[in-house]
């Protein structure tokens, strides 16, 4: 496949930097905005949870782990959806485990991501 640097398959860049470092970050962002747009989620409630998550990471950064903004974002989203009774943490975990058990070669929507951290 030819490398597409300018066309629709090119990774999005803003002043040379990728807007989303990994595809799942874009999904988590799009999902959040779609929920806000549909009035399922209040952005300020989400933002408050995001601030809490960021503050919690900063108070006790896991040794050797660099700050990953969208991990905080995703955790905040799960938290507010859980508290609103829309999706429980157990539901997310069970579905994640199901997805993890898919056979190798399954057509994952997300790309291979970095397992080094």
């Amino acid at each position: 496949m030819q490398l597409d640097v300018d066309g629709p398959a090119a990774p999005p860049r803003s002043n040379g930097e990728l807007v989303f470092a990994e595809p799942w970050e874009g999904r988590a962002f799009g999902l959040t905005m779609a929920l806000v747009h549909g009035a399922v989620l209040d952005y300020e409630t989400f933002r408050t949870a995001l601030m809490e998550r960021i503050a919690a990471w900063e108070v006790a950064p896991p040794p050797g782990e660099e700050f990953r903004y969208y991990r905080c974002w995703l955790a905040a989203l799960e938290q507010v959806l859980g508290r609103a009774g829309l999706v429980s943490p157990d539901d997310v975990l069970r579905r994640s485990v199901e997805f993890a058990a898919r056979p190798a070669g399954h057509d994952h929507r997300h790309d291979d991501h970095d397992h080094s951290h």
Partner: protein
């Protein structure tokens, strides 16, 4: 695989968790794929610092627009068609030879999306957020922005109430350039205030 109850968050790969969350929300009819992808596409392609650059270039070339921009940032930016989430309460601060403004969000990542797109990773980084408040001159110097002791440095903390955009100084030697040409000089970093606009 460890027990369900005590592994809610870090044990599972975030890509998998995001996918799981999305599939559950889709099943429950709380979102639809088209809307999700519409937002991703918009912020990956259509919204970014090129919008803010147009605002700045217009302010440099149209004194009345500049005045409107400094008086009511939200309305003046909307004149150019830039509005939407995180653009509701815009305040534009003007850099001059004697005052240099720089923007941060100390608590999270508040940022004027309609004019700058989504924030870069350094803006969200704990180091920038803490240090630019405590030692702005040192942080700016690391960006190559050396300011004399006579320049007043003002750090603005963006929040849900106010989102700041810096109107950078128009560099000397650009007097003959058109508004369209000036747009190309204005970068994201200059509108956050960590750099100055350079003449071509």
């Amino acid at each position: 695989m460890t027990d369900v109850a005590d592994t809610v968050e870090p044990a599972i790969d975030p890509a998998l968790r995001a996918e799981a969350l999305e599939s559950l929300l889709l099943e429950r009819g709380l979102v639809d794929t088209k809307t999700i992808e519409g937002f991703i596409h918009t912020y990956e392609t259509a919204v970014g610092p090129m919008n803010g650059a147009k605002v700045v270039a217009k302010a440099w070339t149209d004194p009345e627009y500049r005045q409107r921009l400094l008086t009511d940032g939200t309305a003046a930016i909307a004149e150019l068609g830039f509005k939407g989430p995180q653009g509701e309460h815009m305040v534009v601060v003007e850099n001059t030879p004697s005052v240099h403004h720089v923007v941060v969000c100390t608590l999270c990542s508040c940022y004027p999306w309609p004019v700058l797109g989504l924030p870069p990773s350094w803006y969200k980084d704990p180091a920038y957020r803490a240090r630019v408040v405590k030692e702005p001159r040192a942080v700016l110097a690391e960006w190559g922005t050396e300011l004399g002791p006579d320049v007043d440095v003002q750090v603005h903390d963006s929040s849900s109430e106010v989102r700041y955009l810096v109107l950078p100084e128009r560099p000397p030697g650009t007097e003959g350039m058109t508004e369209e040409e000036l747009v190309g000089l204005v970068t994201r970093d200059t509108m956050v205030g960590v750099r100055k606009v350079q003449a071509p």
